[in-house]
Every structure is written in C-alpha cells, then in structure tokens.
Symmetry: C2
Subunit: 404 residues, 2 copies
C-alpha cells in the first residue's frame, strides 16, 4: 500500500495556494500522504516527519483527467486514416464503408467480453501515461441493444480497481444507423423510448453530436432534456464542422461541457460564458482533420474554463495519449502550458461534475502521478513515451512501479 | 530464443517483391524464421511447415530505424520549451542560459556512468516503440574531453545486446563553447587536432551543423573532409534556419544524408539528387519551432531518398518517439504512409550505410517488430502509446513480450 511521496516539487493545482508567481500552487520540498484512498496531508515535508519513509520522486501532480473519449471501440480503421491524410473527407470514407458505421459493425460482431477486455487494455495504456480518470462514451452501437452492450462493457471496466476511474457517457445521437436511414424520426424515437430509459442506470451523462451532417439542435434538445430529467448530466459535441447553434444549446441545457468548438459564434461563446459551461478542446481531432484551431483567445477572454482531452477514437483521433493532446493544444492551439495542464486536471474534473479530484488538497481522492520529470512544464512536450513513474488511483498504484 | 513468427501480414519492404498494388512487399499468411540472428526464411507459411510452432501475431515489419538523434543528453530543458511555445527564439533562450550550452553544462557535471545509464534507459523506451537501430550523436560535450566522454558512453551502450543497435556519430561542430567565444578559429583547430583524432575510433560518422548562426560551409568542409580521410562517413545538418549552401556541401562530400532541409535551393536539391545523398526529414523539430515543412514535393520529384527521424533532443525535439515523427511527417509534411514507412526502415538503413537491415529478406539481420496492429498504415497514426508487441534485434527480444 502506498502511503505517500516526497518530492522537491509537489504541484497541487489548488487555487488557494496559487498566485502569479506560482500559478499552479507548487509546494517546494513537499510531501503528500494518503489514508483510505484520500489525501491526508499535503505540504512541506518538514511539517510531516513520517514522510521520511516515503519514496522521493522528481515531481508530483494530480492524476490527469481525460474528459472526452470514445475509447470503447474495437476493430481497425487504418484505411480511413490514410484516406484522410491523402485529403479525402467523410464522404470518401463512407463510400469505402468506413466511418462510424465500420465501428458499429465491429461492435455488433464482438462479444461483450471482447469489448470489455479491449477497453480495459486501452484504459491501462492510457493510464500508463498518467491518466487516473477517463470519460468513456458509447455511440458505436447506435441500435438499442448494441448501445447497451457498449454501456455494460464500460460499466464492467468502471467497476475495476486496476484501471483509471471511469465516467460513462451515453452518446445518444452519434449517427443514424443504416437500418433507419429512410426513417430518421423513427430512429430518434427509438433512442428516446428504448435506448435512453435503459441507459440511465448505466451512464452518468448524455451526449449528442450537434453538427451540419449529424443531428439538429432540436433533435439534440429533445433527447438531452429528457435525459436530464431522468438524472443524467449533459455534454455535447458542437461546432466541429459547422456552427449550427450547438454552443447556445449547450448553454441553454446547462451542459457541463461543449466539446470541439472549431466553429462557434460570438453569441455562442457569450452563452457558454453565461452558463458556466466548459469548452472541451480536442486538438488531436483537428490535427487529423487538418483544421484551424477553435477561437482560443476569445474563449480565454470570455473567461470560459478550457478543458483539453484526447478524443480517443478510431477515426479522427486514433490516439491513446492525453499528454499528446496537451502537446498539440500548446503548439497548435496556443494554450499556455498552465492552461493545458489545468485543462487536463482541475477544469477536466469540474467538467465531469467531479469535485473530489483534479487538485491535491486534504480530503481529495488520492489520484496522483509521480513523474520522471523535474517540472510540470515538461508534461506538454511531445515525448511519445511515458514519463510517469507511478500512477495512483485512490491510493492504489495502477501503473508504473508499485511502491510498497 | 525466438525462432520466428507467423502473421496474416508480413511486410518485407523488399522492392523485389513489391509492385504498385503491393508497394511494401507484403506477404499474406506469411512467416519469418530466424537463425543465428539472421533471417533464414521469409515467405508463405505453407512453404515452411516448422512455422506451425511460431507465435501468431497481427503484423510483422522490419524494425524501425531512427537515423538522426541527439539521444545522449542529461538534465532538463523544459523552461526553454515553454519559451519557444510562447514565441521566443534561440536568443531569448540563450539569454536565460538555455540552449546547447545548458546541455553542455549537464554533460560536464554528470559522470560518464550517469550519461551512459540515462542513454540506455532512453534507448530502451525508444525501442519499446519499435526501434531496433538508432543513430546517436555527440555534440553536447563541445570541449574535447567532454565530447569523448559522450562518445565513450555511446560506445558502451552500443556494446550491449539488450538495447537497439547503435550507430555513433561525432557531431564535431554543433556550437562554439563559451571558452572559445572570442576565438572561434582556435575552437575549430582544437576540434580538428584534438577531438577528431580521438573520436575516430569511437564513431562511424562525422556531422556538422551548417547554418546561419552555426558553422560555415568552409568550416564544415574542412572538418568533414579530414574526418572522411580518417574513415568516417559524413552526414550534415543543413538548412534548418537558412540556406547557406549546406546541401551543396553535403553533395560535394558524398554525405550519406543531409538533414533538416527546411531551407534548401533548387540547386541544392539537384546536387543532392546527383550525389545520391538522402534527405533526412525531422518533423518534430519543425513542429516545435512552428516552421513550414521542407519542400517535400520537390525532393520527391528529384528522386531523392527521404528518411524520417525523431531528432530526439532536449531543445527542439523533446521526444523519444520515432512513430510520432512518422505521424507528423504524414500530417504536417504531406508524406504518404508508404514514404514515411520506407523513410524509417529501408531508406533510413541506407542513409546509415547499413545494407543488412531495413527490409526483411533471407540473410538480413533479424531485426523485426511484431505489432498489435492489423496494417502498417496504422503505424502513422498518432497513438502516443506503444503498439509493438515484441521488438527483436538480431533474433533477441529487447522489448515487449519475450517469446520463448
């Protein structure tokens, strides 16, 4: 059992001990102690003599939180990536049988156990890079029984103690499946009447893809409003390809996050700011798609909380690395290192409705990473290998060296 | 001891069995067998009945070859990366004590054993991503005794069997050290008369940084010509920031590769084509620096062999991932997946003067990777985690599952 770490640099992300010269609340010559999966002490090591027995590591931060992933996928969509790199778009991909429909076929073919074990292995790789909480969406099943198959697989992984903590999202409206192509309204009714009621016990959030060639504001509003009345939180994909008013909808619904935002109007940004909805930025997807960044400067000026997530998915973001998303957010989107780091810890936690993590303070979950780096700024460099020495979730090491 | 693999897809990279419909010489339902560290069979599994006992893996390729790295560094230059991300240039970095001089101080302070163990650990991480041969440059010592300290550390790691195969390059002219700032000519004489003669027994190549604020064509020509006469091959850093005629020099000297090439004239490209010098592209560095790509289309039309390498270094390419460089080469430079893959296998081997690897054929070194991917195209996706199941160097597994 891990009881704590000593480190020359313990970065708390606690605003109460942050200031302009120490924006992330770093404690020099610090230590952190855990008890029953919670932080029981954090501060200077001289104030906690028991820390002399703790392992000394170069850097301590809260565990990283990946607030937007489609990590529950099986199969391979490598063909599609090559088409995209050659300048093809979703129509070229669809004409070759690719896209969401390919992932849907793969979910239909796989057993629930295969889906679960693929997700578990992927989340373990993701956690080896420092991720301690991961949001995972359904959305590749599309049909009721297949969406629920995905959601059950996610729930089974969420019940484990040897993987990151999982937040499950029912991605209710992702794509209209082939079976309903000629009857879109019937598909949406089926989602409303059949899938959603069963998803409620399995997921914490509902999500919908609100975009030009996806779902309308009205369709998403109907499903999300009902889901919210059934106890689910709301998060939405908005403005990835076109601004159809998704940001305003997210604000209206009190969504905790509006995700993508490559295309968003000034009015949409104002609405998000007023509603306190976070902007979840997904730079791996716009890298793959060769897109211009979201209006980061405007989001920043509006005081909107920015989150950075991996968007891990087999099509537009075939990645398993939140740190790579941070590297792209800083280089391609112009976030500062601090913004990227806060966007994958404190802001990510808030955008998932989690108040017990994302910063290190007494009573918080003991979700902690010991890094083989001397400063948190090095976390935004595109290493491509793991710099995590030990990854701790609720006081238990799930990746890296087990410290006993 | 590994004796071979079976795989639905064995990608040989052998031009003799490649054609337009099979550009990388893939063998379906193939197998590969090893004997005494060499490939003893490659072909269809039905033609090699003994293969029934071999492990079945999704995909086999030659090991990846990283032909340009500064992997032999210690310390941390995270401050500098943050300055670069905020738009600062090398002058801002130098004014804060960063840049090559910071790495030089770190090399001076570290023991030879520390340098060696840091390099070994880094090469092991690099190999876990599929790299079986890695070029490693000196160039952070600058002063004779410190350059030789680096080259001895590299040689000690090169002697090991549990790491990738190492090609050592004496980076003779990287930066003028502080001790010689007022006497540049004396520094170059010292490199010529003191460092070079001792480096000859330790390195296979000489390199120099030919650029506007680095070394001139004449300085580099003098050192490289002498080094060549002493038996070293030549490779040069040219045109990273400005075209000062480095490509023409590389061609004149019969260099095996000219590296960077963000800035190169049509005449320089013609010269490289005529001399058969490879163009080694380093997209992680231009990503960090926010630069435009090299003239890939022109290099391609000129018939120049393109290599893609990581440039792993603590300043402009703080990465340990050749696969990430491939992802950036395709997305940011416009290489095709095949070009990126050939550039990190067959062409990389040729640019290091190695004819025994970079493709799989009978008699070649058994440097092989078994991948958890179904197609080689997926290797250019920005996974950020290892997709290598087993990495084999001369028939010995150095990373991933050991197959006995």
């Amino acid at each position: 059992m891990i009881t704590g770490f000593r480190s020359p640099r313990v970065v708390t992300f606690d605003p109460q001990i942050s200031d302009a010269s120490n924006p992330l609340g770093a404690v020099r010559d610090g230590c952190i102690a855990f008890e029953n999966g919670r932080v029981s002490f954090i501060g200077n090591e001289v104030d906690y003599p028991e820390s002399r027995s703790f392992p000394l590591v170069p850097l301590i931060t809260p565990g990283l939180i990946d607030a937007h992933t489609h990590a529950c996928w099986v199969g391979s969509r490598h063909d599609e990536y090559a088409i995209r790199m050659a300048g093809g778009d979703y129509r070229d991909i669809a004409s070759r049988g690719g896209g969401i429909v390919a992932s849907s076929r793969a979910i239909a073919t796989a057993t629930e156990h295969e889906i679960e074990s693929t997700l578990l292995a992927r989340l373990k790789r993701m956690s080896s890079l420092g991720v301690t909480t991961c949001e995972v969406k359904s959305g590749y099943g599309l049909l009721p029984e297949l969406e629920l198959k995905q959601l059950r697989a996610i729930a089974n992984v969420a019940a484990r103690r040897d993987a990151p903590s999982v937040v499950s999202t029912f991605l209710a409206l992702h794509s209209v499946p082939a079976e309903y192509k000629s009857n879109r309204a019937e598909y949406i009714s089926t989602v409303r009447d059949v899938t959603l009621p069963s998803a409620v016990g399995l997921a914490q959030f509902v999500d919908a893809y609100v975009d030009a060639s996806a779902f309308t504001v009205d369709e998403a509003r109907m499903i999300a409003t009902l889901a919210r009345s059934m106890g689910l939180g709301v998060r939405l994909h908005v403005g990835q390809f076109a601004d159809v008013g998704g940001a305003e909808l997210a604000a209206d619904l009190g969504a905790l996050s509006a995700d993508h935002l490559e295309h968003v109007s000034a009015r949409g940004i104002d609405a998000l700011a007023a509603s306190g909805t976070a902007a979840c930025l997904l730079p791996v997807a716009s890298f793959t798609l060769g897109q211009s960044p979201p209006p980061v400067a405007t989001l920043r000026e509006a005081g909107i909380a920015m989150v950075v997530a991996s968007d891990a998915n087999p099509g537009t973001a075939p990645t398993e690395s939140l740190p790579l998303a941070l590297a792209l957010a800083v280089r391609l989107y112009g976030l500062t290192p601090e913004e990227a780091l806060i966007g994958s810890t404190r802001n990510a936690a808030r955008s998932l409705g989690l108040n017990d993590r994302g910063m290190l303070q007494i009573g918080a979950r003991a979700d902690v990473v010991a890094w083989d780096l001397v400063h948190e700024h090095a976390l935004i460099q595109p290493w491509g290998t793991s710099k995590a020495l030990t990854v701790v979730v609720e006081g238990v090491a799930i990746a890296g060296t087990s410290l006993s």
